[in-house]
């Protein structure tokens, strides 16, 4: 268990994801260097677009598009979906955040493949089952979906983007994200141990 008390290295994380490929994953980038790179991407977005980054918003567009395909009358009467559907002159998926998130998938894959970190598997601690881990992953996602919509953004769109803009609501949100996570961490520790 000693490995769990130190900052995790890419090798240790790789060791617990199954179907390991022979090539050893490269170590992660220094956190300050990676953070600097991330900050420059965010700054570029401010300078080029006049807006920051995001993630959850793209999934809202996807949900609104799906709901509109299934039940258009019901969807268009709903003010939340209507915002993501726009004025119907453009396809709801022809959206800035949707394209940005497609890029996030591509960029994550690019970095992963270059560092030998792309491998299929379920990430969990040794003392839990795959089924339990997937149930937690799904439940946690559900909570985040609701939380992100209530807060008008997630860790990307509010905490990072709004954090850099010194947005009052974003800073309140960010502190509550950390508080909420620390409050619940103890109760779900077994899935990582």
């Amino acid at each position: 268990m000693q490995a769990d008390v130190q900052p995790l290295t890419a090798e240790q994380v790789g060791a617990h994801t199954h179907h390991a490929v022979p090539r050893a994953p490269q170590p992660y980038t220094n956190p300050y260097l990676a953070g600097f790179g991330l900050g420059l991407v965010l700054l570029a977005s401010f300078v080029i677009m006049g807006r920051g980054l995001g993630a959850s918003g793209a999934f809202s567009s996807l949900v609104a598009f799906g709901a509109d395909a299934v039940a258009p009358e019901h969807t268009r009467a709903n003010a939340f979906y209507a915002e993501y559907l726009g004025d119907h002159t453009r396809h709801p998926l022809m959206d800035w955040l949707v394209f940005e998130v497609v890029g996030v998938f591509a960029g994550g894959f690019l970095s992963g493949i270059l560092a030998g970190r792309v491998r299929m598997g379920i990430e969990r601690g040794p003392s839990t089952t795959n089924r339990m881990r997937l149930m937690y992953a799904f439940a946690g996602g559900g909570l985040m979906g609701i939380g992100a919509k209530l807060a008008r953004g997630c860790t990307s769109g509010q905490a990072m983007t709004g954090g850099a803009l010194l947005n009052v609501g974003s800073w309140a949100f960010m502190m509550c994200v950390f508080a909420g996570a620390y409050a619940v961490a103890y109760f779900v520790r077994r899935q990582w141990q």
């Binding site: 008390v5 130190q6 900052p7 992660y28 300050y32 990676a34 600097f36 790179g37 900050g39 420059l40 991407v41 965010l42 401010f46 300078v47 080029i48 677009m49 807006r51 993630a55 999934f59 996807l62 949900v63 800035w96 394209f99 940005e100 497609v102 890029g103 996030v104 998938f105 970095s111 560092a115 792309v118 598997g121 990430e123 969990r124 799904f138 439940a139 946690g140 996602g141 559900g142 909570l143 985040m144 979906g145 609701i146 209530l150 008008r152 997630c154 860790t155 990307s156 803009l165 947005n167 609501g169 309140a172 949100f173 960010m174 509550c176 909420g180 409050a183 619940v184 520790r189 990582w192």
Partner: protein, 201 residues
């Protein structure tokens, strides 16, 4: 230089989607580089054994904050054209708690789940399905939660405006606070490693 470029009409909506894709690639690339494609690396933040999440996130915030401040100060970027989400304090506080709880239960936040899924993590893919379900639940309940969603509006407001301090002073104080917190984070990591009998990193 007239920036933000898009707001000054340097390119249109279609080109902005290509820009979005390219910016997304940079975003995803550095998230993965930092180790954020790993749920155990991310959640170690909340067990205090590895504070990489805090370090990366605040380095990014400080970098973008300082960059934008100086570009604005030099007159190269019109800061009034950079979009600021309006603050609705109480729903954002409740949303923050829910998202934080969901983060440590699910192992990822929405952006990092994309990066983890793209590097083969099945739990991240399931996490994304959970996020989609959460948004559907929120959307379907919206007529009933609409009042709360729009509660406590404060408009587009920044910390300097709220505290009645100059923009530059708040930027300086946040940067100073972050540098102190980075030192504190490294100290906590070493303490946790020593307490649990591991070798200090």
């Amino acid at each position: 230089m007239n920036a933000p470029f898009f707001k000054f009409g340097l390119f249109g909506d279609n080109v902005s989607l290509i820009v979005a894709f390219l910016i997304g690639i940079g975003f995803g690339f550095f998230l993965e580089r930092a180790g954020f494609g790993s749920a155990r690396k991310l959640t170690a933040q909340f067990y205090l054994t590895d504070l990489t999440v805090f370090k990366v996130m605040f380095t990014a915030i400080i970098t973008a904050m300082l960059g934008l401040f100086y570009l604005g100060w030099m007159g190269l970027v019109d800061l009034s054209l950079v979009y600021l989400t309006p603050t609705h304090l109480v729903p954002q506080i409740v949303g923050g708690f829910l998202l934080g709880a969901g983060f440590v239960v699910g192992g990822y936040c929405p952006g990092t789940a994309c990066v983890a899924a793209s590097t083969g993590k099945m739990d991240a893919l399931i996490n994304l399905l959970g996020i989609i379900l959460g948004i559907v639940v929120f959307g379907e309940l919206f007529p009933w939660v609409e009042g709360f969603y729009y509660a406590t509006p404060m408009g587009q407001v920044t910390l300097p405006q709220l505290l009645n301090l100059s923009y530059g002073l708040v930027v300086f104080l946040v940067a100073l606070m972050a540098i102190g917190a980075f030192a504190g984070a490294t100290w906590v990591e070493k303490r946790m490693a020593a307490r649990k009998g591991g070798q200090p990193s």
